[in-house]
């Protein structure tokens, strides 16, 4: 029984990781940037979700708006922050991204206050019983939403010409252009979709915790990096599986290894262990 519950809890956590990591995978897959500031968009989504729900009373509306805002912010971030330094060695965008992330955490603190925000009347807090398991409605939303978003994306990526076009821009953007691929559009679309998903994850986490804080992005941002590596870099289904696996590993780890390692360390210990056995990641294509 405990085991089943732990697995269920792991899946909830894993779904959130998946939503966040997905955007990172898209960006990494496309531009090879370690986009730490992605987590800032996750936080932004959370704030938008809470503010708009409190204003309008409609979670659905807030969710759509949060995704839009995060998506647009992501595109702007790409356009003004990354595009000019794309041809630089990888740690240049990494440091820029970290600078951006630190600064944005502070901006949230200054704009929305240090104490964080909560839903005035948190929606989706009702209980649903599935067998002997009890879930919050919000938890179910997280799992279903995560699976759906990723399923659709995976299909898009592997089955459509746009997906192939995206991958072509990775190896040789110049040649991709020479075969009629519009680099700008491809990159904007990717940033928009990835960031919007992070925004959605932010709203959902806010639902689970009823709290958004300026620093809520820091833990997921680094863990999401671990996840995209586990998932084999750039593969959408790999990312989903890796995120869920990590969620479950953490769920058991906090209970059974908690005395040895803290939660972050468990995730990274798992990552390093996996890489030693499978240097190409858990679910890499090759």
């Amino acid at each position: 029984m405990l085991i089943v519950e732990l697995i269920a809890q792991g899946l909830v956590q894993g779904s959130i990781y998946a939503l966040i990591a997905l955007g990172l995978t898209l960006v990494y897959g496309l531009l090879r940037i370690l986009h730490v500031a992605h987590a800032a968009l996750f936080t932004l989504g959370g704030y938008m979700g809470v503010l708009l729900t409190n204003q309008t009373g409609s979670l659905g509306l807030a969710m759509v708006a949060a995704m839009l805002v995060a998506g647009i912010a992501g595109v702007l971030m790409y356009r003004f922050c990354y595009e000019p330094i794309l041809h630089q060695p990888p740690f240049v965008p990494l440091i820029a991204s970290i600078g951006l992330f630190i600064a944005s955490e502070e901006i949230y603190r200054l704009v929305f206050g240090a104490y964080g925000l909560s839903y005035a009347d948190p929606p989706l807090q009702g209980q649903v019983a599935i067998g002997a398991l009890r879930f919050k409605q919000a938890e179910l939303l997280v799992m279903v939403g995560g699976a759906l978003a990723i399923g659709v994306l995976a299909l898009l990526q592997s089955r459509t010409r746009l997906g192939i076009a995206c991958q072509a821009t990775v190896t040789d953007p110049q040649m991709a252009e020479s075969f009629g691929i519009d680099l700008k559009t491809v990159r904007y679309v990717n940033f928009f979709v990835g960031s919007a998903l992070a925004g959605a994850a932010g709203v959902m986490v806010a639902l689970l915790n009823n709290l958004v804080e300026p620093t809520m992005g820091s833990v997921p941002s680094y863990k999401a990096l671990a996840i995209i590596v586990l998932g084999g870099l750039g593969s959408v289904p790999g990312t989903l599986l890796a995120a869920l696996t990590l969620g479950i590993v953490e769920s058991f780890g906090t209970i059974y290894l908690g005395k040895l390692l803290d939660r972050n360390a468990i995730a990274f210990a798992f990552l390093i262990l996996v890489l030693m056995v499978r240097p190409q990641g858990l679910f890499a294509k090759r």
Binding site: R161, I164, A165, Q167, A168, V170, T171, D172, Q174, M175, A176, E177, S178, F179, G180, I181, D182, R286
Partner: protein
């Protein structure tokens, strides 16, 4: 079809090609030769829109295309098989071909692909391998095949026979002759001048970015100084 007038191009301060005038016509194969560093690849990349044009004019089917980006150029019918092949290494052979045909409707794909595979059966056996894992020659075939997928009106091939075995070189040249019959304009860079002169209609010789000889390929062989100095023939 394509007119270059006083074309100049280069990298930053460095001028790779100067004052190049050339006319490429449908149904004709033009050869571009010259020693290492003469500026052949730069010319091709400039026509494709990747190297900055610093002087002159570029007209395709009567329209000035000098200001267009590479995307517009391929849509108008200019395709390139570049130096170094520059395949999409992490995509399969099939996906590379798909990208080649991206500007055309999906319905054209199967037909175009079969044409390419007919030309290079070896690629058919490797359809699902990653392009980066192909052998040198296979990569060259794929690069040419990918350019063909764009259904170009003007096809540019850099170092066409590089890394190919004699049998495949023959195949390639025979394919060029077929393309010529289909009315394409073809611009070929080739080190094996001897082989090139047997199919080319026109020839242009570059040295250090300047045109040193231009004319009918048939006349080139007759020109003794040319053969001795630039064509590297014995």
């Amino acid at each position: 079809m394509l007119q270059l007038e006083g074309l100049g191009c280069g990298y930053g301060m460095f001028q790779a090609v100067e004052d190049l005038s050339l006319e490429l016509q449908p149904g004709r194969i033009t050869g571009l030769i010259g020693a290492n560093g003469a500026g052949k690849s730069s010319t091709l990349m400039c026509i494709a829109g990747h190297v900055a044009m610093t002087a002159g004019q570029l007209r395709f089917e009567g329209q000035d295309i000098g200001q267009l980006g590479p995307r517009e150029r391929v849509k108008r019918g200019i395709a390139i098989s570049p130096e170094g092949r520059r395949l999409f290494k992490d995509l399969s052979v099939e996906d590379n071909l798909k990208v080649g045909g991206l500007i055309h409707p999906t319905s054209c794909y199967a037909q175009d692909r079969d044409k390419v595979l007919g030309l290079f059966p070896r690629l058919g056996e490797r359809l699902h391998s990653l392009a980066g894992n192909l052998s040198g020659g296979e990569q060259q075939m794929l690069a040419i095949g990918r350019a063909l997928m764009a259904r170009p009106k003007l096809l540019m091939i850099d170092e066409i026979s590089l890394g190919l075995m004699p049998k495949v070189i023959d195949l390639c040249y025979r394919a060029l002759e077929q393309l010529r019959r289909d009315g394409l304009a073809v611009l070929v860079v080739e080190q094996n001048t001897d082989r090139l002169l047997r199919v080319a209609d026109d020839l242009c010789v570059l040295e250090s970015g300047r045109t040193v000889w231009k004319g009918k390929a048939a006349d080139a062989r007759a020109d003794a100084t040319l053969t001795a100095r630039y064509l590297g023939l014995h």
